[in-house]
Amino acid sequence: MEFLQPATWSEALAMKAAKPEAVPIAGGTDLMVEINLDHRRPATIIDLTHIKELTEWGMDDGRLRIGAGVTYARIIDELGDRLPGLAMASRTVGSPQIRNRGTVGGNLGTASPAGDAHPPLLATEAIVELASTKGTRQVAANEFFAGPKKNAMRADELIAAFLVEPARGPQQFSKVGTRNAMVIAVCSLALAVDPKRKHVGIGIGSAGPTPIRAAEAETFIQEVLEEHRLWERHVHCEPSALKQFGELVAAAAKPIDDVRGTADYRRHALAVLARRTFRWAWDDYRKSK
């Protein structure tokens, strides 16, 4: 096995261009499991952990630009106020030891339908920044996930960062599993309320071949909020509307039966998570008046 350790981002991109088959490693919490279990034997590894740029974040034209190598522990500590939904999801990832090493870039690289960073990124319409020696391009999170553990990254590209607007309203994340820590979600849901744009974003996880944005449910709840002037009146929405909202979220899922749960259970649980997280978020919005 060849081990490459670029010191700078441009060096890393040059290495990836020269060897597109080389496998990047960040926190290693996905890749090392695959190697140790002999599911994968990369001939070349590019260690991204010495590249300073990847571990930085800052504001970029109204958006937060967060380097792919920022760990979950740092998202929780440093960005919990600005990205509450992603921070909630990050708190549920693995255990402290995993959160001290694991990165959102690695979560995107693996692109598992169960990746916990994905639903909040979908709900907040985040953008993934991909880079190669030929330049950078931005891909909406919604278009980044291409299939089970497949993403839109070309073989010569690396994930540089993701871009997301700081929260303007309440955000929530909820996941179902057998215990609080160290489990792959049976299903998960993130919801982001943006009072300025009068927008409600919803991302769901572990309920289809990819993480999914529940676009119809978003449109429906926005119409309900608009029609009844709930943004202005700061009151709760009708239980019947909430029920329909839950059903639309469940309908957006494409779940399967597997060892963690049945498709029916996942649809049922997603409807519950949708109603529950919306109620929590809307309560926060009403109180913020």
Binding site: M1, E2, F3, Q5, I25, G27, G28, T29, M32, V33, N36, L37, I45, D47, T49, A73, G94, S95, P96, Q97, I98, N100, R101, N180, A181, M182
Partner: protein
């Protein structure tokens, strides 16, 4: 890399796991290996002060960093580290296989949060498995360690 204050040469094989490097090349066998896929937490060490799983890192990635293993907490002959003392006092171990990992996790937890609530303790040790104690005595050990560290 620096392990417990002593500089060590880089591993010759880039495939060497940090856990294997610590145990076989450096000879510090207090860091245990239970599962080698990130689940059990036995291999927990401090990496630049934060608990991580040494089975999910290549040793070569630790070049230029500080690693602390269970042997680094209290030198031979010195009094035990407060966390070790607390595990001893509260019977926080039976067979002891999981203990180095728990101790290192708890050192990391208390450094970040010197006065954890019961919920924060559960969260702090959630990445370590113990097949003997049923965790009750380990929770007590964390509370006692917090007390001893004050």
């Amino acid at each position: 890399m620096n392990v417990n204050g002593v500089d060590h040469p880089a591993p010759t094989d880039p495939r060497r796991l940090l856990s294997d490097h610590i145990r076989h090349d450096i000879g510090l066998t207090g860091t245990h290996v239970g599962c080698e896929h990130g689940v059990c937490g036995c291999c927990t060490v401090l990496f630049d002060g934060a608990p991580v799983r040494s089975c999910l890192m290549l040793a070569i990635q630790a070049e230029g960093h500080q690693v602390t293993t269970i042997e680094g907490l209290a030198p031979d002959g010195a009094p035990l580290h407060p966390v070790q003392q607390a595990f001893h006092e509260t019977h926080g171990l039976q067979c002891g296989f999981c203990t180095p990992g728990f101790v290192m996790s708890v050192v990391g937890l208390l450094k970040q949060n010197p006065d954890p609530t019961p919920e924060e303790i559960d969260e702090g040790i959630s990445g370590n498995l113990c097949r003997c104690t049923g965790y009750a005595s380990i929770r007590r050990a964390v509370l006692r360690a917090a007390e001893l560290s004050r």
